[in-house]
């Protein structure tokens, strides 16, 4: 917490070194988060890239109410939601395939190197309803508190806890069925 406060402060004063440290500290976590939320490596990489670029463009406007980690996680979640909405529109318009082709041709090399465990888990998470998936990933991987997730999703803490519980039950059921 203190370290993050120092980093933010130095960043606001123009320290490139502070920016690099923030990037190195949180990029893996954010990539994991985006990847789990989207189950699409390319899109996850783009989102984390865009989040950091956006973050670097206006550090002076940054006002943290909680932790830097939660702030960055929320940025990722918001962009994931936008991506999902765009996808839904494109699917309706029959453009999804074209976008996928474009996305994969943009960057032949992958930023995230998938391991089998992550792939299995992401596949299982992808089968959960979106809201349950978001709660589980934000709470367990993003280490966000239920209260913060409730604010993000605009529902009560009880609802978030229920989504978390039902989501875990379903995830367990899915993973058990793969054994």
């Amino acid at each position: 917490m203190i370290e993050d406060k120092l980093l933010i402060w130095r960043l606001k004063l123009g320290s490139t070194d502070a920016l690099c440290r923030i990037y190195k500290k949180y990029k893996d976590n954010l990539l994991r988060l985006a990847s789990a939320l989207l189950n699409d490596t390319s899109a996850a990489e783009d989102i984390v890239h865009d989040c950091f670029v956006s973050f670097a463009q206006s550090p002076e406007k940054l006002k943290l109410n909680g932790s830097l980690k939660s702030y960055l996680a929320t940025c990722v979640v918001n962009r994931v939601r936008n991506t999902n909405k765009t996808r839904q529109r494109q699917e309706t318009a029959g453009l999804n395939e074209a976008e996928s082709t474009l996305s994969s041709s943009k960057r032949p090399e992958q930023w995230i190197i998938y391991n089998e465990q992550l792939r299995q888990l992401n596949d299982a998470l992808a089968q959960l309803p979106e809201q349950q998936r978001e709660v589980i990933i934000l709470h367990l991987q993003g280490e966000m508190k239920f209260k913060a997730i409730a604010e993000l999703q605009g529902v009560s803490i009880n609802t978030i806890q229920s989504r978390h519980r039902y989501g875990l039950d379903k995830l367990r059921s899915i993973l058990d069925s793969e054994v």
Partner: protein
């Protein structure tokens, strides 16, 4: 069936690897965006700090924290089983060798730090830079503060009066050769690397302070961290290191002091003096009156200064009647909405005039030059 907690661990502990080459590429793009934004960056918004500081119960500590200490690492090693019996007086003795220090200073309010500073001290000179873009320079003789716009806002004697050292000042006397009260105190706890001393407040601070906890390097016997806890739950946190880091380029190059927006000759206990204001949009005139000599807390003679402003539209602001200045000093002041909503601006909108009067003596007794630096603050600033 997997127990639920195993599923949770699985999700929590999953790790990914990343392609180092792409990692570097992305970081390069992020840094490029950052550098580009820096070149476009405009001055940060100045916050209404003067009023907060004036009202803060920890003004003493804040003022003292302008100081950063001088420390060198030429210290005796204190190791072995007797470390738990190292008395506070030994720490005080070690700090006497300090010649350089770098410091971070955080002021908490509620659950967050509302002010942060970074400071450097070397060879008797101190620079303290705040997260608002303000900077205070203390050369051991005069302390001068510049706000984020580079405007001189405060000028007063050094915060190291009578040769007082950094630690004496900002530990509120705890780290002073003259202080005998706590010298026999031993650490409250001893860690692998630190000794922790906890002090109760003295009667003079007991109305607002709860405790001071100082973490001292076990080998160096130099303060590493100091936390001053208040009764309301807020605290000040200071972190020190004594290895010379890269100093800011402005250490210790005092900024050029911009010309005043207006200046006028003012007679003690005379009439109101109208001072023309230029270079401060919306402001036309400052109305100044100087009166009532009085002996202040520090034993010096202070003068009272009343200041009001007249805008280009002819509106006269409220009058600030609480300014106390000694000769050749300047201080941050304000009139308008921010000082309690006393002013009824014609358009009903938020306005505050920030200004800094500098009282300069002349060859004639009872006559002074009052320099005014000022600007109007609105909600959009």
């Amino acid at each position: 069936m997997r127990p639920a907690e195993n599923i949770e661990k699985l999700v929590k502990n999953i790790n990914i690897d990343t392609n180092a080459k792409i990692d570097e590429e992305v970081l390069g793009e992020v840094v490029k965006a950052f550098e580009k934004s820096k070149s476009k960056k405009t001055s940060a918004t100045e916050q209404n700090i003067w009023r907060i500081i004036m009202k803060s119960p920890i003004t003493k500590l804040a003022a003292a924290a302008v100081i950063i200490i001088a420390v060198s690492l030429g210290v005796n090693l204190v190791t072995g089983p007797d470390v738990a019996s190292v008395v506070w007086g030994d720490v005080v003795t070690h700090t006497g060798d300090v010649d350089y220090v770098h410091m971070y200073y955080f002021k908490s309010r509620g659950n967050e730090f509302f002010r942060q500073f970074e400071g450097w001290h070397a060879h008797g000179k101190t620079l303290l830079r705040g997260d608002n873009g303000d900077a205070t320079y203390d050369d051991g003789r005069i302390s001068q503060r510049f706000n984020t716009y580079g405007m001189l806002t405060d000028r007063k004697p050094s915060v190291f009066p009578n040769g007082q050292t950094f630690l004496e000042s900002f530990s509120i006397g705890l780290l002073s050769e003259k202080n005998q009260q706590f010298n026999e105190q031993i650490p409250a706890s001893v860690g692998a690397d630190f000794l922790i001393y906890t002090f109760d407040p003295r009667p003079s601070e007991s109305d607002w302070m709860k405790s001071i906890v100082i973490m001292v390097g076990r080998n160096s016997l130099l303060p590493i961290q100091m936390k001053c806890c208040q009764k309301n739950g807020d605290y000040d946190l200071l972190i020190f290191d004594y290895e010379a880091p890269e100093q800011p380029t402005e250490f210790f190059e005092l900024p050029v002091i911009d010309p005043a927006n207006g200046a006028g000759k003012v007679l003690l206990d005379g009439e109101d003096v109208m001072i023309d204001i230029t270079g401060a949009p919306d402001l036309k005139t400052a109305v100044v009156r100087l009166h009532s000599e009085s002996v202040d807390n520090a034993g010096g003679v202070s003068l009272s200064l009343d200041v009001a402003f007249i805008t280009e539209d002819g509106f006269r602001s409220g009058t600030n009647t609480v300014i106390r200045l000694r000769a050749d000093e300047a201080c941050r002041c304000g009139v308008g909405s921010a000082s309690g909503g006393l002013d009824e601006w014609p358009d009903g909108k938020y306005r505050n005039i920030r200004f800094s009067p500098w009282l300069k003596p002349t060859d004639t007794e009872d006559t002074y030059i009052v320099e005014i630096r000022c600007r109007v603050i609105t909600k959009t600033d």
